[in-house]
Symmetry: C2
Amino acid sequence: MLNNSHYIDKLRSSGLRPTKQRIKICEILFNTEKTFHFTINDLVKKISKATNDKISLATVYNTVHAFKKKGYLKEIPINSDQSYFDTNTSHHHHFYDENQKDLIDIDDADVEPVKINTRIPGKKIKSVEVLVKVEDTE
Amino acid sequence: MLNNSHYIDKLRSSGLRPTKQRIKICEILFNTEKTFHFTINDLVKKISKATNDKISLATVYNTVHAFKKKGYLKEIPINSDQSYFDTNTSHHHHFYDENQKDLIDIDDADVEPVKINTRIPGKKIKSVEVLVKVEDTE
DNA sequence: TTCTACATTATAATAGTTCTAAACTGTTGA
DNA sequence: TCAACAGTTTAGAACTATTATAATGTAGAA
């Protein structure tokens, strides 16, 4: 389990104890070639497919929040009844398909850098996120 | 009540019956010089300050959704436990102050038009929304 | 005025998320 | 190695925003 030891190091180095629940969630989130978007509910389903040892819902929430805080996940701002997370933490934006209720990455090369020519005194910009809502052409 | 007759026309012309609840909510949302952001909870508080006849929570939700559908309000995509609405329906973007949990309009003149150089086949762009998260400079 | 479709209402129901407090476990240091 | 402790997990309750329900009310048309 080379991958696991990698996750153990990753967790430990960021001050998170490498518990078996967190390692399992790392495997599910970060073992794939492609990054992806998910809701807590999606993740719970993936976990129950991937393992027989169930992980409690509270732990899934705790872990996702911990990973987000450490920068291993990003939350995508979108009006929805549930939160969407992204395993792609590099800078990029999203399409949101309102018919399919589907989020799609926009390659950062396809978006001209967004220039904001104003600032709020005493504040610094933390992130600039673009959400492009699309719908079916009729 | 010149203003009220204006709202009555507005509602009627968009196919919404001008009920006293809707007219009251129009007064609260659209009688001000400046546009503003609000949550349902904010609006409920404003209503109870402005009138003695209480409006039921369900009606507040129904009305806000109806107004949004008619284009009198915009919903702001942001990760929050509640939905934020904007009485400014013109094209513009937002700062979100993560310390103060406060939304601030960005004058559209201060944002270079966002160019998206890719499309999804069969879909057309409905909106492009930029959310600039800011935090205190330390 | 009367009728009908649309609105409002109180309340229940739902769903996502957070809280709680007890049990468990990784890590540290003797 | 092992005790002790702090961090973690857990089941389930609690919480909160929102939506559904079904009865009552009301605007507008005939």
